[in-house]
């Protein structure tokens, strides 16, 4: 059976709707069903997918993810790869996609700031200012978000001194 919508791909989703006592049945392929916004077991299976898709749209408006700029320098992964699989390519992806992931982490966890155990990899030097700096940068972002520019200017100066 072909899909009612694209009349090309085979229909795998059979949707029966009852509106005002009249019954209609539609036969759709997965792609068309997704385009028409119909929830199926396939797209419900990954609870992140809807969420990621909706985040993706906002992100696209802010900064297009295509091209070299939207690619992780280490694993060459893109945000589109992430949206598709729900998995990042490597730990370094957290740097090029920092802003996008910060927003995502806030929505997922209610915060993007790790307050648990800190860690320094073997052979790495501990920068005594790093913790403080990271905290100040966080406060700066919040100040900018809330348009508290006086505080933002002060925080920026304190960051410069530490840097």
């Amino acid at each position: 059976m072909q899909c009612d919508h694209c009349t090309d791909r085979p229909a795998t989703i059979h949707l029966t709707q009852i509106v005002d006592n009249s019954v209609t049945t539609r036969h759709l392929c997965e792609q068309c069903a997704a385009e028409l916004g119909i929830q199926t077991a396939a797209n419900v299976a990954n609870p992140l997918s809807d969420f990621l898709a909706s985040m993706g749209k906002e992100q696209d408006e802010k900064a297009p993810s295509g091209g070299e700029a939207g690619r992780c320098g280490f694993c060459k992964g893109t945000l589109d790869d992430f949206r598709e699989s729900g998995r990042l390519g490597c730990p370094r992806c957290y740097d090029p996609f920092e802003q996008y992931l910060r927003d995502l982490l806030r929505r997922l966890h209610g915060s993007s700031r790790h307050v648990g155990e800190t860690y320094v990899a073997p052979g790495r030097e501990v920068d005594p200012n790093e913790g403080k700096l990271s905290e100040l940068r966080d406060q700066l972002r919040k100040a900018v978000d809330t348009e508290n520019f006086e505080l933002a200017a002060e925080l920026r100066d304190r960051i410069r001194v530490l840097e």
Binding site: C75, P91, G110, S112, V120
Partner: protein, 360 residues
């Protein structure tokens, strides 16, 4: 390769003994930490050679820790599908690592275990450190795991970000990488139909529930796995305390529900319990799901002191050994064998008879 389960310290099921706190309601506590190696791609983007490299590094680092010095290293990718299912049924490896989620087992997939703490290697994250304990023992399990994490972290360069914490393949695990879960039996709340409210309440305070086998599994036999939903923005201690407080409340609600059942419907409950016991003791064929549900009824009976000639240990043992792969292996059969329901009934009967004989 056929896997020799005698290689596993305690067969990997020391948590079965029901010795832990609140053992009558809480079966086991599991804590895991997700860790990845810096300078490596995450597992889904690795090649076989990458994963072999990661495994070698982790095994070597493990040898230098006090806990994994003499640990067993099980190459999951070299184990037969049947035995991989067995390892999964024993809660030693995830469905993903066992290659049971469709597709083949991933080359380089391995489990390093000393019986108390273990590391899954080349799972969704490079390392999944885990500790499974008997009963309700969140801080004890975390303490063990934290020790291993600290020692491994001195040997291996974990990927860590000043702001985001430990970096994971899926951002839902970032930060602490900690997921703690408690496997809890809630027949009272199910029978009094309060369970929906309780689960809804838990989701409002950042906790989630799953079935017996973790992510994506269904609830069978009134067993629920309660765990933290978020991993970032709270410290490890805060996450554990929050889950602990809520689990304690759930235990209290469960006790209240059982109290109500005892008070308002003693005959109905006693009938339910003894019917379940009777079926288990005398039935000639039993499906896995039916067994789980009947065991739930009998476990409730033991909790209410209605059934006295049966130990919680036997109930736990039945829970593990009546699973398809366990049963099939014990009887030298295949998982899909049509004889299994008969074999299962015989096995259940033998264990219940033995407990009854000991009691009389």
């Amino acid at each position: 390769m056929k896997f020799d389960f005698d290689l596993l310290p305690d067969g990997g099921i020391s948590w079965l003994d029901a010795s832990g706190p609140e053992g009558h309601v809480v079966l086991s506590t599991r804590v895991r930490l997700a860790r990845n190696l810096d300078g490596r791609k995450f597992t889904i983007r690795t090649t076989e050679a990458d994963r072999e490299g990661i495994l070698a590094e982790v095994v070597e680092a493990g040898r230098k820790t006090t806990q994994l010095r003499d640990a067993a290293v099980i190459r999951v990718d070299a184990v037969e599908p049947f035995d991989r299912q067995l390892l999964h049924e024993r809660h030693l490896i995830s469905k993903e690592l066992a290659g049971l989620e469709g597709g083949a087992v991933r080359k380089g997939a391995a489990l390093i275990t000393n019986g108390d703490v273990a590391v899954m290697v080349n799972e969704e994250d490079h390392l999944r450190l885990q500790c499974l304990s008997s009963g309700f023992a969140l801080s004890e399990a975390y303490l063990e795991l934290d020790r291993l994490d600290t020692e491994l972290g001195k040997e291996l360069p974990f990927a860590f970000h000043q702001e985001f914490g430990y970096l994971t393949s899926c951002p839902t695990n970032a930060g602490t990488g900690l997921r703690a879960s408690v496997l809890i039996h809630l027949p009272g709340l199910v029978l009094t139909k309060e369970i929906g409210k309780v689960l809804q309440g838990l989701s409002q305070v950042g906790l989630t529930f799953r079935g017996l086998y973790g992510e994506g599994s269904e609830v069978v036999g009134n067993f629920f796995q309660l765990s933290n939903q978020t991993t970032l923005g709270k410290s490890e201690q805060e996450l554990l305390e929050h889950l602990g407080t809520m689990v304690r409340k759930v235990i209290e609600y469960e006790q209240q529900a059982r109290g109500i059942l005892e008070r308002d419907a003693p005959t109905v409950i006693a009938d339910k319990v003894w019917r379940a016991y009777g079926l288990l003791r005398y039935a000639r064929t039993l499906s896995f799901e039916e067994t789980m549900n009947l065991l739930s009824g009998v476990r409730l009976g033991v909790g209410l002191n209605l059934v006295s000639d049966l130990s919680v240990y036997t109930l736990n043992k039945l829970l593990v050994f009546t699973q398809p792969a366990h049963l099939a292996r014990m009887e030298g059969k295949m998982v899909g064998d049509p004889e299994l329901p008969t074999v299962r009934a015989t096995y259940v009967r033998q264990l219940l008879d033995a407990d009854a004989a000991r009691a009389s």
